[in-house]
């Protein structure tokens, strides 16, 4: 029973750690399937986390925080769209700029507004998304195996966690079963053909970028007002890039994206768990190695050791309409 309980806690923290990755990864999925590379996931998450922390602190409620996060993140997404779709600027450079602007802006505004060295004030419980106790979690806990799994893994998460996992089938459905999704993928694979068929490439790409903005807003909110109680400087700490790695690892597909994010979340949980504990036969694994594994795995995938990752064909190329 000890083992089952340990395993359940492990899986529980894997899920918690994979949620911000999953939101951001799906955000990247929308943009990149429409042909807009998005390495600005990190920046959008950061500005969202800050907006959520600030608005929740001022209003003492998580909902204005969530709204502010989505607005801020979508604004940055629109900036990316304005640069790369309307003005056909380079998508990579625009993404880099967004990351740097977000890092500077959140820190400077944090210092100016809250005078706490860039942090937002500590949030009271009612200003956060708290963990929901699903019905029966406590009653079932005494049942071996199932009780533990239900109480630890299914129950006891904030509403954003359930939303994140709900977004996976929803994204799948939108992408593969709706006209919107078909058009979105079309402008990412062959924009000229989509254009000929009467689809506005610009509009479709803007819509995709906005979807990405909303999801990054959710991701940032989760970091600052669900997982922790307030924003701290650079709180994304590279998670946007791990999400990007997960996106490549999942070969730009939603269900696989969930798998990749859970895997990377699990690795993160394992790193925390194993800190300082020697493994039989290996000794102590360096923390840094564990942290680098998502990136190493992704490079291995790109090298062709684990299948082949083919990005959307028109990714990174601005569309120039023929006249």
């Amino acid at each position: 029973m000890e083992l089952v309980h340990a395993l359940a806690t492990m899986l529980d923290s894997s899920i918690r750690l994979s949620v911000p990755l999953l939101f951001a990864c799906l955000a990247g999925l929308y943009a990149e399937r429409a042909g807009v590379f998005d390495i600005g996931l990190e920046g959008k998450m950061l500005i969202a986390a800050f907006a959520a922390g600030a608005a929740a602190a001022i209003s003492d409620s998580p909902w204005p925080g969530l709204l502010a996060a989505i607005v801020a993140s979508v604004a940055f997404a629109l900036l990316h769209g304005f640069a790369t779709i309307t003005h056909r600027g380079n998508q990579i450079v625009s993404g880099v700029a967004i990351n740097i602007i977000a890092a500077g802006l959140t820190a400077q505004l944090g210092v100016t507004w809250f005078k706490r060295g860039g942090q937002t004030p500590q949030l009271e419980p009612e200003a956060r998304f708290l963990e929901l106790r699903l019905p029966g979690a406590e009653a079932l806990r005494s049942i071996p195996l199932i009780g533990d799994l239900y109480a630890e893994i299914i129950s006891g998460h904030s509403v954003l966690v359930y939303l994140a996992f709900l977004m996976v089938p929803l994204t799948w459905w939108v992408l593969y079963r709706t006209r919107f999704g078909l058009r979105l993928r079309a402008v990412g694979e062959n924009p000229a053909a989509a254009d000929t068929a009467g689809v506005s490439v610009e509009f479709q790409r803007y819509m995709a970028v906005v979807c990405g903005g909303i999801l990054c807003g959710l991701s940032g909110s989760y970091l600052s007002i669900a997982q922790s109680s307030g924003f701290i400087r650079d709180m994304t700490a590279g998670k946007g890039f791990i999400a990007l790695a997960a996106l490549v690892f999942a070969k730009w597909r939603p269900v696989q994206a969930m798998g990749a994010c859970l895997l990377f979340g699990f690795l993160d949980a394992l790193t925390i768990r194993l800190q300082g504990t020697p493994l039989p036969g290996v000794g102590i694994l360096p923390v840094q190695l564990m942290q680098a594994i998502p990136y190493i795995l992704t490079v291995a995938l790109l090298a062709g050791f684990i299948g082949r990752a083919v990005p959307p064909k028109a990714g990174g190329i601005p569309y120039v309409k023929e006249h």
């Binding site: 790369t84 056909r88 450079v93 880099v96 740097i100 990174g316």
Partner: protein, 371 residues
Amino acid sequence: MSARAELPWWANLLLIPFLNLAAAFAISALILATIGEDPFQAAAIILRGALFSGEGIGYTLFYATNFIFTGLAFAVAFHAGLFNIGAEGQAYVAGLGVALVCLSFDSLPSPLIVLMSIAAAALFGAAWALIPAYLQARRGSHVVITTIMFNFIAAALVVYLLVNHLSPPGSMQPETRTFAENARLPFLHVALAPLGLDLPSSPLNLSFIWALVCCLFFYVLIWRSRLGFELRTLGANPNAALYSGMPVARLTIIAMLLSGAFAGFMALNEIMGSQHRMILDYTSGYGFVGIAVALMGRAHPIGIIFAAVLFGVLYQGGAELAFERPNITRDMVVLIQGLVIMMAGGLEHMFRPQIDRLFAMRRRKALAAVG
């Protein structure tokens, strides 16, 4: 597209970058005003801090040296049509190489250590670009994604080595010991003192000279050599390069290795020239700013030098600004840099249609006057 070629050279090289820059500064001024600061006063403090004292100029040029190296790094790959956004990681690993040389061979005469360090910086930087280069050339996987991954792998690797192997025994600091006197690049104010020049003291060191040498080398390589011609052909039209029999895969790898080597030279300035020991996160974003430097400088060494000095002014002046105004932090400079990258890179073409129209109108008027 035809209208694009008709702009006079100065509009393309000076007017458009100037407009982009002005827009970035205007937005920065707005943000400063919103947080209750006087933007004109801030600009005055930045300029005074960066340019109105010998010490300030020294610091400005010291920072500019980093930007020249990372700008050249981005530019050389850019000429070949490649986006190396891994200068950050390549410079970081090169710092390791320079530190290893400086720590292991500090009994050798100084000039020899300098040569070995230059070689180590180039080798380590290039080595870190090799796998992304190979994957791009042979497997077609996008160099942007692999270089991002390698930035993070580099960060993990360096932290591991600094914490576990390179910090002196008994020390809790994740950094190497300080290099011996003869394993340091001389400061310019020290090196030039025997010539009777009395420069104010600053971390500006001999790497600045090396950066200028690299600029010259870059010019000769790109515009006066066969390899440079091939690289530019590959960048301008990969199909043309392929069908004229150029070794495209090999050129891709060469461009990335050169790029990694240029990025690596940043370690000379920071590690060997100023810090005199290997520290955590010494690259602190210079690699990314190099992208803006190269784009604003139109991937030409002269342009890169100007853009690098501009960012140097921003860096040094920004430090003064953060020092004088308690409400402003160094993050404001990061923000301004981000805005410049956005305006000069992402939104590069924003003013283009208006400028095109303006010049087309002028031409029509000129024609009407003649006819």
